[in-house]
């Protein structure tokens, strides 16, 4: 499903880190562990198709990133990759529900309001669907971000520190939801974190070295 070989990631022409090999089968999850500055975010952005690799190869669902550029990459990402940003990036002009519909609209998929409401219900924040993001707590926003990342049934859900801002209870809760949602659509989770609490949920783990 996801094949990574001799990957060399970085930006502005500078290599931040290298990943010789990673292979995930459908529905298989992976945790990327590492201290701050170890390149977690950079490798996650590369896997998300937000950042072009300096070298090496990424193949997702049979599509090599080498063949995807600019708007074709955007379109591919919209349909295959769900992203949970570390700074959640909600559109403040829109309500929670509209933020979910925006993801469908942007990806050019039919807007399914029932699906979005169901998803919010499943995450326990359906009562907030008409609220603006600024009125929600961090934990609630985290769930909206999860809902938005999963609404288009991506093949792979990429999360950058999705639990580190949460307390132990909320952390467990969010992990359960993520695993549930991933299992429901048979998607792979790729989570980058320094949060040791969630290690036990993942068989496959990569630990990155400190900043070099």
């Amino acid at each position: 499903m996801l094949e990574i070989n001799n990957l060399n990631v970085g930006y502005d022409g500078t290599t931040v880190m290298e990943l010789p090999h990673l292979s995930l089968s459908t529905g298989e999850h992976c945790l990327i562990l590492g201290a701050s500055g170890s390149g977690k975010t950079t490798i996650l952005s590369t896997i998300s198709g937000l950042l072009a690799p300096i070298g090496g190869e990424i193949v997702l669902d049979g599509h090599s990133y080498k063949d995807l550029h600019g708007s074709t990459m955007d379109e591919f990402r919209g349909r295959h990759i769900g992203i949970i940003y570390q700074t959640l990036h909600m559109v403040s002009a829109l309500t929670v529900l509209e933020n979910l519909l925006l993801a469908q609209y942007a990806a050019g998929l039919p807007q399914d309001k029932d699906k979005a409401v169901n998803l919010l219900e499943h995450l326990g924040i359906a009562d907030k669907k008409g609220n603006k993001p600024e009125t929600l707590s961090q934990g609630q926003l985290q769930r909206v971000a999860i809902a938005r990342a999963t609404i288009n049934d991506p093949k792979i859900i990429v999360g950058d520190e999705p639990t580190s801002a949460l307390d132990d209870n909320a952390c467990e809760n969010v992990m359960d939801l993520l695993l549930n949602l991933a299992a429901a659509s048979n998607a792979s989770l790729v989570i980058a974190t320094h949060d040791q609490r969630i290690k036990r949920h993942f068989h496959k783990q990569i630990t990155l070295g400190g900043a070099q």
């Binding site: 930006y11 937000l50 950042l51 600019g70 591919f76 990402r77 919209g78 940003y85 002009a93 509209e98």
Partner: protein, 419 residues
């Protein structure tokens, strides 16, 4: 969710900044509308009042004053001319039509003009149903604004007061009877009370005989004693006088010799309205030119304001646009989103601005209507105004173009992740 609902959500989210952008834009549009309307109506005012009048003949003095007083009824007349001389000129072979005017009194600041039917007919004025022209002394036909202002209808009476501006002594012993009201013409006729020359002579003959002490008071009130058509009969025996003649030529050749002939061989002065108006515009030229450049300057400034407002709004949208791209939005979708928003703002601004412009002109018109000189209205729509819509939308499109094109080059990673 679509372009339109998304755009309106953004506009509602930033109400204040949207309102400010619209206000700046609308102010610029309103300014253009005011310029267009005022300019068109002033031009029209000049040309419709001048229409067909080739020469004005009156007392010696300033030719400009003669034109202003006799054609536009703005200034005081230069003096009177003897009736027999005026009549002799009227029969000149090169003169097609000569309309006599005898000024002297006013009704509520509207001038009472002793003349012939030829005067209203020259401006294609029509009597309202049930009215007729004057048949004898002290019968009057009112211009539409005069009738409306005084609330007068045929059969009513009114008294003129002495002089050409409101506030003079009332001739209450000789009331006029209204025998007709004219339809609005959009010319000076609307603001005049018309009567036969005989009425003006009648009032002032009696007036002068009856009350000498009063006469003295007049001189205090009204130092332009000369402008009183009837008043000089004592001094000049029973020679009758009028204030001026409005002349239409029979042939263009008349312009070559007739004015000079009148000026050199008679006690009268001939002035060409076209020439004097050209002179007037030349006098005022620097002023109006400066004003025009200033207006353009303001409009260009408003244009920059619009551009800056929209550009900033679009730039602030960078994160959201990058986010939409990360969710797979094609650049074309984002481009049309930004265009839609900018065009909504522009369209609202143009509509608000046009409404505002017309309201402003209507306000100016109300203010000017008290002066009784210049006639204007905000309830007039010019064909040129329709251009404001495409031009306004083009400005909006242009303002959105630059940020919209930059969307294609947004580095999502740097915008959303590493900032």
């Amino acid at each position: 969710m679509n372009c339109l609902s998304l755009s309106s959500a953004y506009l509602r989210h930033k109400t204040l900044s949207a309102v400010l952008t619209i206000a700046t834009f609308a102010a610029g549009v309103a300014m253009i509308v005011v310029m267009l309307l005022v300019n068109a109506q002033l031009q029209n005012e000049f040309s419709s009042n001048l229409k067909g009048i080739d020469l004005v003949v009156g007392g010696k003095g300033s030719p400009m004053q003669l034109i202003l007083s006799s054609v536009f009824h703005l200034d005081v007349p230069t003096g009177n001319i003897p009736l027999d001389e005026a009549e002799k000129l009227s029969k000149h072979p090169m003169v097609k039509q000569a309309i006599p005017l005898a000024l002297g009194d006013n009704y509520r600041g509207f001038r009472i003009v002793g003349t012939t039917k030829a005067y209203p007919e020259h401006y294609h004025a029509l009597l309202k149903a049930g009215g007729r022209y004057w048949g004898k002394e002290m019968e009057a036909v009112l211009g539409s604004e005069v009738a409306a202002n005084g609330g007068l209808k045929p059969g009513d009476t009114f008294s003129g007061s002495h002089g050409l501006t409101a506030g003079g002594e009332l001739h209450s012993e000789f009331p006029y009877t209204v025998v007709g009201i004219l339809e609005p013409t959009g010319t000076i006729i609307d603001r005049l009370a018309l009567t036969g020359r005989e009425s003006v002579w009648f009032i002032h003959e009696h007036h002068d005989h009856d009350d000498d002490a009063d006469e003295h008071r007049h001189e205090v009130h009204d130092h332009h004693d000369k402008d009183h058509a009837g008043e000089h009969e004592h001094e000049h025996g029973h020679e009758r006088e009028i204030t001026s003649l409005l002349i239409t030529y029979n042939t263009p050749l008349a312009a070559v010799g007739l004015p000079r002939q009148i000026n050199s061989t008679t006690s009268m002065q001939a002035a060409s309205p076209a020439f004097e108006i050209a002179r007037l515009t030349a006098f005022m030229g620097t002023g109006t030119e400066t004003l025009k450049y200033f207006a353009w300057f303001l409009i260009i400034l408003a244009g920059f304001g619009i551009f800056a407002g929209l550009y900033n709004a679009m730039n602030e949208r960078r994160y959201d646009l990058a986010l939409m791209r990360s969710f797979g939005a094609r650049p074309g979708k984002l481009f049309s989103l930004m265009m839609t928003e900018s065009l909504i703002v522009s369209l609202i601004s143009v509509i608000v601005g046009m409404g505002l412009g017309h309201l402003l002109v209507e306000g100016i018109a109300t203010w000017l209507s008290n002066t009784k000189h210049i006639h204007m209205t905000g309830r007039l729509f010019l064909a040129e105004e329709t251009w404001l819509i495409p031009v306004g939308l083009a400005v909006g499109a242009l303002a959105a173009l630059l940020p919209a094109v930059r969307v294609y080059r947004i580095d999502i990673f740097k915008t959303l992740v590493r900032r």
